[in-house]
Amino acid sequence: MTPAVTSESPTALAHGHRVGVALGRAVGGVLAGRHDQIEVAVACVLAGGHLLVEDVPGVGKTLLAQSLAAASGGAFRRVQGTADLLPGDVTGTLAPDGDGFGLRFRPGPVFAHVVLFDELNRANARTQSALLEVMEEGTVTVDGVAHRVPEPFFVVATQNPVQMAGTYPLAEGVTDRFMAAVSLGRAGAEEELEVLAGRRGRTRLDSLAAVVDPAAMLAARSAVRTVHLDDTVARYAVDVLRATRSHPRVRLGASTRAGVATVAMARAFATLDGRDYVAPHDIARASRATLAHRIVTAAGEAAAEVVDECLAGVPAPRR
């Protein structure tokens, strides 16, 4: 089993790198194949963002989220989205305090380090909106009192984009809160064989131990934020954002928050690659993960293709 990474590492960035690699290896031990998607997920964790996993059922969305949660250590809670799920069920409510007449705040499932929100689009719009504050600010306000969720805080949500009947499509404000979206896709034949033979898949989840503790994760996240971002590279990210806004087949381009997410993801990718600076290809890769679920395209257009076109139209910076 992968040894746990502690925060006593020689340099902060090397520590971040080791955390990322360890997480990736741990998740890769459970989820068959899909290394790129796993890397995006790990980078999202390192960058301190929340992850949206979209795909048809049965490709391992929940498994990815669970293995990520298990490997990250800390408290883990799971919420299953349904139409009658209420905001209080997620964030927590005021409940009678024992025998007295006072009301005591009873924390909901979001008070954990890792929260898996399964089938987010089945929860109604009110419940989805209840997540906005906690995802952005890390606090839950009930009756005028703000309650902080533990650090690090990480939400993994899944949704099935195909079977839309009886669902509440995520509003732009909600999707924008997710740093990255990843679409798992089907595993290859070899990898399916691994799953069926029991070498990968849910059976391995039980034997997955946490590879980091919350403190080490926090240290890794702060290390990632120190990765150097050259101005020319930042300008590249800006140009890509602007390209999505002026693309003819896009109705709503990427927001500035999308740009912040792109840069954070790019820093995480650089850390995973063991570099102390962001290279243009980090931005390109991060853009593919962070922009596609944020932009609203004209009917029948694949957002991922649009992002690729925008990237092709913007010359990458070089020396």
């Binding site: 839309m164 009947a165 009886g166 669902t167 509440y168 150097h228 050259d230 020319t232 590279v233 570099r275 102390d276 600076y277 962001v278 290279a279 243009p280 290809h281 931005i283 390109a284 009917a299 029948g300 092709a312 139209g313 913007v314 010359p315 990458a316 910076p317 070089r318 020396r319």
Partner: protein, 999 residues
């Protein structure tokens, strides 16, 4: 709709480029100028133009030789009038212009075709853009590949037919949508008629609609709005709009457009859409419009095909020429090249008209203003441009035209017409905004070159001609280049080094081939027969009257009474006119130390003696001109009768037409080939009895006059057949001998005449004897005072110059009773092969003997120079002359050429290494490495905009990836430090990558 194409299609001419006809017109004008002036330089220009036009005609077939269309990809669905992109795969050479047309069989056998996309193809696979054709289903694609080659004057094309999947073209969405019925989707479990969102409603409330429950009325809003408003209940059910499509409306396209508009509106609201086709009262089954492709396919063929519009009768068709050339614009480089190509001819014309640097600068400024104004980034208004052009033209005209010089109608031709033409030429520069007018401008420039070639005779003509031809060729090539501005996207792979080298070499080989074919073509063209009678040039650069009627004058105009100006030791000084033969008395002991400067340039198809005077009377040392001044004619067109002793009249021989261009101030002697019968000179002229001509004005440098002479066709045989002339008898003055003539002179003559049957043989014998026994020597000793100069020369000194040799021959012939006299003038010693003129220098002043034959009159014999008899002259071709000129130039300037070539090579090498050094300094060594890396990846097929890591993917290999990361590190890492070892490894890796790419 991808389709496969064929590789063979017939090559057909597609027509000339815009304005290319102007070159043909200019060529015809050039032919006229050549015929009128007889200038060899114009013939050279014409041949170069012919070669260029021929090359322009065959350049495209060479490029299209292997052209083929491998495939075409068109979108499966498209919209009328909206942009679409076609991907065409073309084999063969690029760039070529590709036009994609779609076609479908019409009712009969006639197919209709419409153009959908056109553009330049610069690589094997290219994207070209266009707009969607008319509504309907198109089954066939026709791809026309066209090119005008590198020269861009004449277009050829190949048309390929490609069969592929049909393309469905729908009309654009109409502004007014078709009738729509919003319905809740039953599949989602919501009953029909249940409240749903419509596209013109608020989220919370909406206007009343039939079927709404009374309970849903929102009374406060209704009160405020003045109409019934109901609460909008949001539902999560998927909505569906049912759109009505009416058949048989007569305009199926418009109905389809309305339906499309309605369906797209439904989609934009997130609802589904179904189409119900309604035919009168019959309502069809609703069918689902699943996706845009299905909708467009439906709209393309709904209610049958559109009727094809009836063909426009020919008298209603718009008038105008359809050009084969797709581009109309002139790029900035080309425009300035045109200005340069216009300036050279303008200078060529201005110089011989006597204008200096100031006027040339004025014209250059006018041309530059035109070029600058037509290449501005933001084009100025047409009216402003035209008025500025008018102002510039007027300014140039005002600077050039000197009204005070205009006195006669003829002077208008010289002092007004060329200047006005130049001003118009400058104005044309302001109109030169598109390719047609650019080519017209260049054609006018070519005509100016021809005009200058016709009027110029100076030795710089060759250089100017070469420069003009090169500039015209470069400018015309630049004008015809494909327009790059609407950049066509595509995998524009940078050419490999070998290809670049070949491409770089092609213009050089092309130019060399063109030059060779020009010379080769000129070889068969004879030198033109001199200026035609229409354009006989004649003018005086300055009018200096001679005071003494019919007498001789110095170049300054003062009467010349005695001999020439005499210097110490009886040798005269250097000026041309101080040759003693150009005076009333010629002392045979004088020669003069004559200079080397060019005195006369003569445009004439054949060389001849340019005779100035003849001398009949000899006193033993000095020859004398007749006293009689002769017959005065007023001019400007003088006609002369036969002179004393002449036999041939105007009708008896070939006409030799000569135009004389004095290059220095000359006296009032008219130099001309013997037997002049017509002279054009605006001054009184005396024809003396002996045929010599004297003007009433001196002939200053820069003047010109034209003479027509009768040319005898004498050959050795014809002269020999005329027998012994002494036996025929002769007028006494032509056989007069001085009293000092010695007996041994007569004996020598008799000895040389012994055994001969004709005078011609005697002349040959005397010539041979003189060649054997006498040496040509400008420093010969002078005869003793009072002695006979001929005796002294023949028997004592045996050294002398042409005057003495000619005198000796004349005396020997006269002693045999043969009529002979002395003539002086200039001999043509050199030929300017480009300008086609004969050159006489000061030291070509000469004296020779004329013998009077009964059939030919006076025939010139020269015991010293080797001017052939008129009948013996060779025919020369322009090409032969050009070859001689080039060969002469190369042999004369071999060291300069080698040095110049070497210098050019050094400059090129230095320039390249200098550029590399500048780039290295600006970009740093890692920057240069990055540039090379990018180029290598682009050549391997990358787009060029990707991040380095993606470029490395294209190049493949661990090393490429390593290098990409190092390059990124050098650019973006704060902790990066330049490391020599890393750099060296990077270089090695890059060289390997480049090497692999070349393989």
């Amino acid at each position: 709709m991808p389709g496969r194409g064929s590789r063979t299609a017939p090559l057909r001419p597609a027509g000339p480029a815009r304005g290319a006809w102007a070159f043909a017109a200019a060529w015809v004008v050039g032919v006229a100028i050549a015929l009128l002036t007889g200038a060899s330089s114009v013939v050279i220009l014409l041949m170069a133009g012919l070669v260029a036009m021929a090359a322009g005609f065959v350049a495209a077939p060479l490029r299209l030789r292997r052209a083929g269309v491998v495939g075409v990809e068109l979108p499966a669905v498209a919209t009328t009038g909206e942009p679409l992109t076609a991907v065409v795969e073309v084999t063969g050479r690029w760039p070529v212009h590709v036009e994609v047309r779609v076609a479908r069989p019409a009712d009969g056998a006639v197919a209709t075709a419409e153009r959908v996309a056109a553009g330049w193809c610069r690589s094997e696979r290219c994207e070209i853009t266009g707009t969607g054709p008319a509504r309907g289903r198109w089954d066939e694609v026709r791809v026309t590949v066209a090119s005008a080659g590198r020269i861009g004057l004449f277009w050829w094309r190949r048309s390929f037919t490609v069969r592929c999947d049909p393309m469905w073209v729908a009309p654009a969405a109409a502004a007014v949508p078709a009738h729509t019925m919003p319905l809740a989707d039953e599949a989602a479990g919501v009953a029909p008629g249940a409240p749903v969102r419509g596209h013109d409603e608020l989220d919370s409330v909406r206007p009343w609609r039939d079927g709404d429950e009374a309970a849903t009325i929102h009374w406060p809003s209704s009160w405020r709005a003045g109409e019934v408003i109901v609460r909008q209940q949001r539902t999560n059910a998927v909505e569906r709009h049912v759109v009505e499509a009416r058949r048989g409306t007569g305009d199926a396209a418009a109905e389809a457009a309305r339906v499309r508009s309605a369906v797209e509106a439904a989609w934009s609201l997130g609802a589904g859409a179904s189409i119900v086709e309604v035919d009168g009262t019959r309502i069809g089954e609703p069918h689902d419009a699943a996706d845009p492709t299905a909708l467009l396919r439906w709209a393309a063929v709904f209610d049958g095909p559109d009727p094809t519009p009836p063909p426009v009768p020919w008298w209603r068709r718009p008038v105008g020429v359809t050009h084969a050339e797709p581009d109309t614009s002139v790029v900035r480089t080309a425009r300035w090249a045109i200005a340069a190509a216009c300036l050279a001819p303008a200078v060529m014309v201005l110089q011989p008209l006597g204008y200096g640097a100031f006027h040339i600068a004025v014209v250059a400024a006018g041309l530059a203003a035109g070029a600058g104004l037509t290449t501005m980034r933001h084009p100025v208004a047409k009216g402003l441009r035209q008025s500025m052009g008018l102002a510039c033209g007027v300014g140039v005209g005002a600077a050039l035209i000197d009204v005070s010089a205009v006195d006669t109608p003829a002077s208008v031709l010289r002092f007004v017409m060329p200047q006005v033409l130049l001003a118009l030429f400058v104005m044309q520069g302001f109109e030169c905004t598109d390719r047609r007018s650019a080519r017209v401008t260049l054609a006018i420039a070519a005509v100016l070159v021809a005009y200058a070639g016709g009027i110029r005779v100076d030795d710089r003509l060759g250089a100017w001609l070469l420069a003009s031809i090169l500039l015209l060729a470069v400018a015309s090539q630049l004008v015809g280049r494909p327009d790059r501005r609407p950049a066509t996207r595509g995998s524009a792979a940078a050419p490999s080094r070998g290809v670049r080298w070949r491409h770089g070499l092609a213009p050089v080989t092309g130019a060399a081939l063109a030059a060779i074919s020009t010379v080769a073509g000129l070889v068969v063209i004879p030198v033109p027969d001199g200026p035609a009678q229409l354009t006989l040039p004649s003018f005086l650069s300055e009018r200096r009257e001679v005071l003494d009627d019919g007498g001789l004058a110095t170049p300054g105009g003062s009467p010349l009474l005695g001999g020439a100006v005499q210097g110490p030791g009886k040798r005269t000084g250097g000026a041309a006119a101080s040759y003693p033969g150009f005076s009333n008395r010629m002392d045979t002991s004088l020669r003069g130390n004559l200079g080397d400067e060019v005195v006369l340039r003569v445009r004439s198809p054949q060389p001849d003696f340019w005779r100035g005077q003849t001398f009949t009377t000899f006193d033993g040392t000095t020859w004398f001109v007749d006293e009689d001044a002769g017959l005065r004619t007023e001019g400007p067109d003088h006609a002369f009768g036969r002179a004393s002793g002449d036999v041939l009249g105007v009708a008896d021989g070939e006409t030799l037409l000569q135009t004389f261009y004095p290059q220095v101030d000359l006296p009032n002697i008219i130099f001309a080939a013997p037997r002049a019968y017509r002279l054009l000179l605006d001054a009184p002229v005396w024809q003396r009895l002996d045929g010599a001509l004297r003007a009433g004005v001196v002939l200053p440098a820069g003047s010109a006059y034209t003479v027509l002479s009768v040319r005898s066709s004498a050959t050795p045989d014809s002269l020999a057949s005329q027998g012994d002339l002494a036996a025929l008898g002769a007028p006494a003055q032509y056989v007069q001998l001085p009293g000092t003539t010695t007996e041994r002179t007569r004996q020598l003559a008799a000895e040389l005449a012994e055994g001969t049957t004709s005078t011609y043989e005697v002349i040959q014998a005397i010539d041979a004897w003189l060649t054997d026994h006498v040496a040509y020597d400008l420093e010969a000793s002078l005869p003793p005072e009072g002695g006979d100069a001929v005796d002294w020369f023949l028997f004592e000194s045996r050294r002398g110059f042409c005057e003495q040799i000619a005198s000796a021959m004349a005396v020997l012939l006269r002693s045999l009773g043969v009529p002979a006299r002395i003539a002086t003038g200039y001999v043509p010693s050199e030929r300017d092969h480009i300008a086609g003129v004969w050159i006489s220098r000061a030291h070509d002043a000469h004296a020779w003997v004329e013998v009077r034959f009964p059939d030919d009159g006076w025939v010139a014999f020269d015991p010293t120079a080797a001017v052939p008899l008129p009948g013996e002259a060779d025919d020369v071709s322009v090409g032969g002359e050009l070859f001689d000129a080039v060969a002469g130039f190369v042999t004369d300037h071999a060291p300069h050429l080698v040095l110049g070539g070497g210098g050019l090579l050094v400059v090129i090498v230095a320039g390249r290494s200098g550029r590399a050094a500048v780039r290295r300094r600006r970009r740093g060594r890692w920057g240069v490495l990055q540039d090379r890396f990018t180029v290598a990846a682009t050549r391997a097929g990358a787009g060029g905009t990707e991040p380095n890591r993606d470029l490395a993917e294209v190049l493949t290999g661990e090393d490429a990836r390593w290098l990409a990361d190092e390059l990124d590190r050098s650019a973006f890492s704060p902790s990066w430090q330049d490391d020599d070892a890393v750099y060296q490894r990077g270089r090695t890796v890059l060289v390997e990558l480049e090497h692999a790419g070349r393989r």
